[in-house]
Amino acid sequence: MNDKSKVAVRDLTVKDKFSFARFLVQWEMILIYILIAINVYLMVMRPGLYFAPGTIQSIIQSGMDLSPLVLGMIFVLMLGDIDVSVASIMILAAMATGLSMDAGIPVVPAVLLGIIVGALCGAFNGILVAYCSMPAVIVTISTQMLFRGIVQVILDVNVLSNFPTFYNALAWTNIAYVPISLLVFLALGVVFIIVLHKSAFGRKLYMIGNNPVATQYSGINVKAVKLQVFVIMGMMAGIASIFFVGRMGGGVSSTMGIGLELNAIAICVLGGISTNGGRGKAYGPIISTLIMAFLIYTLGLLNVEANSRVIMTGFILIIAVLIRNLNKEILAEIKLRLLYQSNKNIEALNNKTAENIGNLKVLIGETKKDGKLSTTDKAEKIKKYESQIVGLKEKCKQQTKAMKQQQK
């Protein structure tokens, strides 16, 4: 084994070629099927309405108000953190823009100011989470109260209504039958996809989400990355204020947008982002933003009242997570309970047998490919292995039976 010349250079190239079948059943594709299914349903049930001019556009527009929050939330969840203060940041940013417009500041600096306020709020969260090692849930629950509290203090019961006119245009108009808000959302989405999947920054997010300690040992400044992500989230909340205020018809009061953060999180989870961090793709939440818009609209058509539509949101969230959670561990647990009567000895025996059979099957596969053997030799060898498999199975069955009886 020490003779280097004998060791052939191993072929390590990526052997998994693109598989169309696997492409079709991945989570993001399933989301697309759901989206199509809802559309088909609408088309068939309400053809008149569905094909009426402006219907689809207004459905999409109705779901875009929180879309920038979704994008930012992808990054935060990717780290394994969470940010429930985003709706409050959004309103704070909107207030900053509105107040500066009132004060006569020109449109561009006023809008930028809103986004900067968002970024500062995000930085505040980020510093507490990354550099003071406080849990993100706690930090953002409190800053949620804090930021909204600031809005309440400043606005009290007043309503700000002096906002740039492009806010309304963004939320309500189309270019060539395509809603502007959708175009902007998709453009932002492409940026997020590229950053997450094609850049070093995105790779760092996956690394931190899966194993922050090992990431640090790879020479990456975990704290700085966390801070950056929260700042990005804050900026996206600032941008979301444009979408949101536009949808609200250009008015802002201190009680608006409560609970929007939870919608954004739900959309991300439905989109396949794991809340434990490090898993999921950016495409998913973008598709599920649209799914949510269509779903809520469809439920509205079915006379499901707005307040009870949230039941759907809740079930979707739970079922989406459960499906993705259904991993080996839980299956093994269920198997242990049902099949093996909670007897770990039986479980161990069956697992061992399954493993031995697996190994034998691999051997069979290798024999089949082996070019050096003659066909008769092959057949003989395979036969031998197969008889071994049968023997193992039989033995396992008998032992299992014996153990179960013993347990009784």
């Binding site: 191993r10 390590l12 070093a200 790779r203 020479g219 909670s342």
Partner: protein, 502 residues
């Protein structure tokens, strides 16, 4: 055969392809201290877990007082009087000592409520026979490891255990604490408790045990009377071959001084540590677990920051504030715990390999995955990684090959100094050899290598120079030629004798 309280015959246990126990036998008499020895990864820990019912054997028989038993949980083994004190103390750090002792067998009053008063009183009685310095009302997490172990012993006593399993209890104890533990263990034996004492210190075995069973590479090697087996023979049995065969021949010649560590200190961890490394040289940093070796190398790598002292690389003083800077200066660390610190098991091998040097693959704002893959394949082929392909997750690999992935990660950076913290921990013998080959080849290519290791044969077989640490200080430095295990052991225990005298 009836005089055995515990007997295991031909026990086999595998974990998804890795055999942890392969036909192990064991006999324990009543009132006997039986040492169980073997190298790291020999299967000792799995062995206890099988006895206590944490794991279930795939096959084999276990007899308790001549009666066949199989446990499905620790509760069942506890009922027949088996108690274990695990290597990593498995306590509830936020709960009080009293509660830790009585967890699962609390004393209740007539209404079914806890009788804290009586429990505290009993806990005090149990503890005071072992140590006079433990406040039973304090949370477990505030005690030292040695004291936590005493609490675990008290817990076992409170359950009237007649078989007590102790998994490397002396690994992180000071000399005086060890003595105390020895006395308590002997007293328990005299009271009729049968004890399985797992250790890899010969001292423990000679001091306490009458019998010794050796495991190696998951296999049963043999059982001897302690006074009838020589030290040499025992080592040979544990290691499995003559030392000279274990290590590849060295080819590198040490060159100029590469890294100098001058009097670095970190409060609470180490003091005044100095040593240097030359190009192409392997320096071993050894000593007992808890001597501060890991903390020293973490300080060189920027995970910790020393309070004082200086580090010079190629004659220039450097200030390493983070792992990022360490890598930029050319210092890389292969961490001790490869699962927690070395690998990101969910990402493909090639992404792990390039993770420390992503800047190399940046083109504009984008990462060039093709380049990453090409680079990773080249590196991994060089160190003969056995994997299906480079896009598999590291979790699909064996321990030795996982370690090679971490090596490849370091090699993808432009390094001068390689720090390897227990590079062969938990790796089987064959894979160890190829890790050693890699180390020698790297030394030949001019890397300066610092190897932290607790395994003395490895230290003597691989290093050019040996630095020994004890309780946060360097106590000796040897050229490897002419150094013996006894000399290293003496240096790693040296000051403890003084401590005892004082």
């Amino acid at each position: 055969m009836g005089n055995y309280i515990l007997e295991l015959k031909d026990v086999v246990k595998t974990f998804g392809g890795v055999t942890a126990l392969d036909g192990v036998h064991f006999h324990l008499k009543k009132g006997e201290i039986h040492a169980l020895m073997g190298e790291n990864g020999a299967g000792k820990s799995t062995f206890i877990k099988v006895i206590t019912g944490v794991h279930q054997p795939d096959s084999g028989v276990m007899l308790i007082e001549g009666e066949e038993k199989s446990f499905r949980s620790t509760n069942e083994s506890a009922k027949v009087g088996i108690a274990a004190i695990y290597q990593h103390v498995t306590s509830f750090p936020d709960l009080s000592v009293t509660e830790n002792i009585f967890m699962g067998q609390e004393i209740k009053n007539k209404v079914g409520l806890y009788n804290w008063k009586l429990m505290t009183q009993k806990a005090n009685e149990l503890i005071s026979s072992l140590s006079s310095e433990i406040d039973v009302s304090k949370p477990m997490g505030t005690l030292s490891v040695a004291k936590q172990q005493l609490v675990e012993i008290a817990k076992a006593l409170s359950r009237d255990a007649n078989i007590l399993i102790m998994d490397e209890p002396t690994a992180s104890l000071t000399r005086t604490e060890c003595e105390q533990l020895y006395r308590i263990t002997e007293r328990l034996r005299d009271e009729g408790v049968s004890i399985i004492f797992i250790t890899h210190k010969f001292e423990d075995m000679y001091r306490l045990a009458t019998k010794v069973t050796v495991l190696r590479d998951a296999q049963y090697i043999g059982c001897w009377d302690v006074d009838k087996i020589s030290n040499q023979k025992l080592i040979a049995e544990m290691v499995g071959r003559e030392l000279s065969q274990m290590y590849p021949p060295k080819t590198a010649k040490p060159g100029d001084i590469l890294l100098e560590v001058n009097h670095i200190s970190k409060e609470g961890y180490f003091k005044n540590v100095s040593f240097d490394v030359r190009k192409g040289e392997i320096v071993a940093l050894t000593g007992l677990v808890g001597a501060g070796r890991t903390e020293v190398v973490q300080s060189l790598f920027g995970i910790m920051r020393p309070d004082s002292g200086s580090i010079r690389l190629e004659g220039k003083e450097i200030n390493v504030k983070s792992s990022m800077e360490a890598l930029r200066h050319g210092i890389g660390l292969l961490p001790e715990d490869r699962q927690m610190e070395g690998l990101i098991n969910e990402l493909p091998i090639y992404q792990n390999v390039s993770s420390a040097a992503m800047y190399k693959f940046n083109k504009g704002a984008l990462l060039q995955q093709e380049e990453e893959i090409k680079n990773a394949i080249a590196l991994c082929q060089k160190i003969q990684l056995k994997a299906k392909d480079i896009s598999m997750p590291p979790s699909s690999l064996s321990g030795g090959n996982q370690q090679k992935v971490v090596f490849a990660k370091l090699l993808s950076c432009d390094l001068k100094v390689l720090i390897l913290d227990e590079p062969t921990k938990g790796i089987d013998v064959g894979a160890k050899y190829s890790i050693y080959e890699i180390m020698n080849e790297l030394a030949e290519r001019g890397y300066g290598i610092i190897m932290v290791s607790s395994e003395m044969p490895e230290v003597l077989g691989m290093a050019d120079r040996i630095v020994v640490m004890r309780s946060g200080r360097v106590t000796a430095e040897f050229e490897t030629t002419g150094t013996t295990q006894e000399m290293i052991l003496e240096a790693s225990l040296k000051q403890k004798e003084e401590e005892r005298a004082s």
